[in-house]
């Protein structure tokens, strides 16, 4: 027994060594950079970081900047519409596909393929289709509707909705796939029992299926919400924040201020706000999950 003791220790040392890259990543990248960013947000840094302390003045400046408030406004509209539309569309597609339809595999492949495409490609395709001069508007006018108007991408009040359309096209297949997997986990004998009781199909879906899909909806929500906070590529590719600053988003505001406007302090304040928003979304979710798993352990 005594002879195996040093050997065991050596092995533990190997495990420690193996986890060193992870430890460095966690401490250096995930914790270190976040703290550094937060620190910069309290300084007057312009191009280069400064070590002074100016309190919350970058934050005051931030919320007095119109581009930022427009960005927040836009991401709120985008986030709500995008998540809602993806959920609704994804749910209906999943329910439709779950009716023993022919060609289910082909349809599922069609609904999900946009998710394999990059946001850049997505943005560029939709930019081309929505081009007022040569895109959908021109095509419909040529079909004999000369009054047809669909110039949202160059319209300050409507441009944000074009981003929603492109993003929903890209991501609703994901919700479909996640919910379909959830639907397949529901015992079909429940429907048989409901049918015998004379329950209509829609009522069965509303009262039996929907509540059981809770975890699948949760998964979809988290995946989509993380995507909302990160929205950047599709905006750069599709509208570049324009016309004017009508389609600016927080992630783009931060990038612009970091790399082209040399406002590192302001950008760091904005990224700190972004981080706090993510935390506000995540913490309740994690809490709910941990409560749930504790319940499972006790029962």
């Amino acid at each position: 027994m005594a002879s195996s003791q040093p050997a065991r220790k050596k092995r533990a040392a190997a495990a420690q060594l193996a986890l060193l890259p992870m430890a460095i990543t966690v401490l250096g990248v995930y914790i270190g950079t976040v703290l550094w960013s937060v620190r910069i947000s309290f300084s007057s840094s312009k191009i280069f970081p400064k070590n002074d302390f100016v309190g919350f003045s970058q934050y005051e400046r931030l919320f007095a900047t119109e581009r930022w408030t427009v960005s927040l406004h836009n991401i709120a509209i985008f986030g709500v519409l995008f998540i809602l539309a993806c959920m609704v569309l994804g749910f209906f597609l999943a329910v439709f596909l779950d009716q023993h339809v022919r060609g289910e595999n082909v349809l599922r492949t069609i609904f999900l393929y946009p998710y394999a495409m990059s946001f850049v490609a997505t943005g560029l395709v939709w930019q081309w289709m929505l081009n007022p001069g040569l895109g959908i508007q021109a095509a419909v006018r040529n079909l004999g509707f000369p009054e047809f108007q669909f110039d949202w991408i160059v319209n300050q009040d409507k441009v944000i909705y074009t981003l929603v359309v492109a993003a929903v096209w890209q991501a609703s297949g994901l919700v479909m796939a996640v919910l379909l997997a959830g639907l397949r986990g529901i015992d079909e004998s429940l429907w048989n029992a409901a049918r015998i009781d004379g329950v209509p199909r829609w009522r069965y879906y509303l009262s039996v299926v929907l509540p059981q899909l809770g975890p699948a909806f949760g998964t979809s929500f988290v995946l989509l919400a993380v995507g909302v906070v990160k929205v950047y590529d599709v905006v750069v590719a599709m509208t570049l924040g324009g016309p004017g600053n009508a389609s600016e988003v927080p992630a783009k505001f931060i990038m612009d201020n970091l790399f082209t406007r040399a406002n590192v302090g302001l950008a760091s304040a904005a990224s700190t706000v972004m981080l706090l928003t993510v935390l506000a979304l995540l913490v309740p979710w994690w809490y709910a999950r941990s409560v749930q798993s504790r319940k499972l352990v006790h029962s």
Binding site: A18, V34, S37, V125, V236, V278
Partner: protein
């Protein structure tokens, strides 16, 4: 031995396909409506792909007619050739192929490195007791949700001080680091399904940390490695932000180059060339998606389902 491993290897199967026992053979009006909805949804999803493809084979004169959905009356593959080898970004006109090869050089080492570290972390976390490991893992999972914007500036400064900023090594490092949370989670969950007895037996046979990892765990991880490869190749290929910031002018990935070709051109915009370039950039992830089928989804949801 191999039979044992085969039996206890956690299954990596897609959701169970429910057998269509009650398939109705007759068509009711409701059924027709169902198919009508499904087909029109499919049309909505296919429309951009269709537009992309037909635009890319139309001559510019035809595009100027403004018939977006019309099939080309004269077919040309010149835009594809031009997109691949002659499209301009700024003053340079060597086509999108430059970005293609840059992306290949970024994706291959980044995928290998991120999967290696994911597997190693997952293995060490599942079978070995290391002080503070659980805590580190918790923070790492949180890291998966931190917006890149929060970390970018400090990372730029750090990489610049060690001369890695704007190099291939720099962008590979960044992808490895940012891929680590999901990769670690993927492998940790996979190894959690491996019976501890197998590991104990390997220990009794005298296997050390690395030997058990390389000769036992890695060979039986092939299914999850496949999922990880699908996921990382698609994600890293489609990345725009990190490549834009960290790769440097000589290594810009295909997505960044594509955007430069289309959104920074001066003069006449060649929509057919643009669409050909967009298709070319999407080709690899689409091929991965079509070939991998259900495994594709497993990767995407792994992070959120079990995290």
């Amino acid at each position: 031995m191999s039979a044992v491993v085969e039996r206890i290897t956690p299954p990596v199967t897609a959701p169970v396909q429910r057998k269509a026992v009650h398939r109705k053979s007759h068509f009711t009006p409701a059924r027709l409506g169902l198919y009508a909805l499904l087909v029109s949804s499919a049309a909505f999803f296919l429309l951009p792909l269709y537009v992309m493809l037909i635009t890319s084979v139309k001559p510019m004169e035809e595009i100027h007619l403004g018939r977006l959905f019309a099939l080309p009356s004269s077919l040309t593959f010149e835009p594809w050739v031009q997109a691949w080898s002659a499209a301009c970004t700024g003053l340079e006109c060597r086509g999108i192929q430059v970005g293609f090869w840059n992306s290949v050089w970024i994706v291959v080492p980044s995928t290998i490195a991120s999967i290696f570290f994911g597997a190693l972390n997952g293995y060490a976390l599942s079978f070995w007791r290391v002080r503070g490991a659980g805590w580190l893992f918790g923070v790492l999972m949180f890291g998966a949700f931190v917006p890149y914007q929060v970390m970018i500036y400090p990372l730029v400064r750090t990489l610049a001080t060690v001369n890695l900023f704007g190099t291939l090594g720099g962008i590979v490092f960044i992808h490895t680091v940012f891929g680590m949370p999901v990769m670690t989670l993927l492998f940790r969950n996979y190894y959690a399904g491996v019976p501890i007895e197998l590991f104990k037996a390997a220990r009794i046979d005298g296997g050390g940390f690395w030997r058990i990892f390389f000769q036992l765990m890695l060979p039986m991880s092939l299914p999850i490695i496949a999922v990880a490869v699908i996921m990382q190749v698609t994600n890293i290929w489609n990345d725009f932000l990190l490549g834009l910031v960290f790769a440097g002018r000589d290594n810009l990935p295909m997505t960044v180059q594509l955007n430069n070709v289309i959104n920074t051109t001066t003069g006449e915009r060649l929509y057919n060339v643009n669409m050909a370039a967009t298709v070319l950039t999407s080709l690899l992830p689409l091929a991965v998606y079509l070939i991998s089928g259900r495994w594709f989804l497993r990767g995407i949801t792994a992070g959120a389902v079990k995290g």
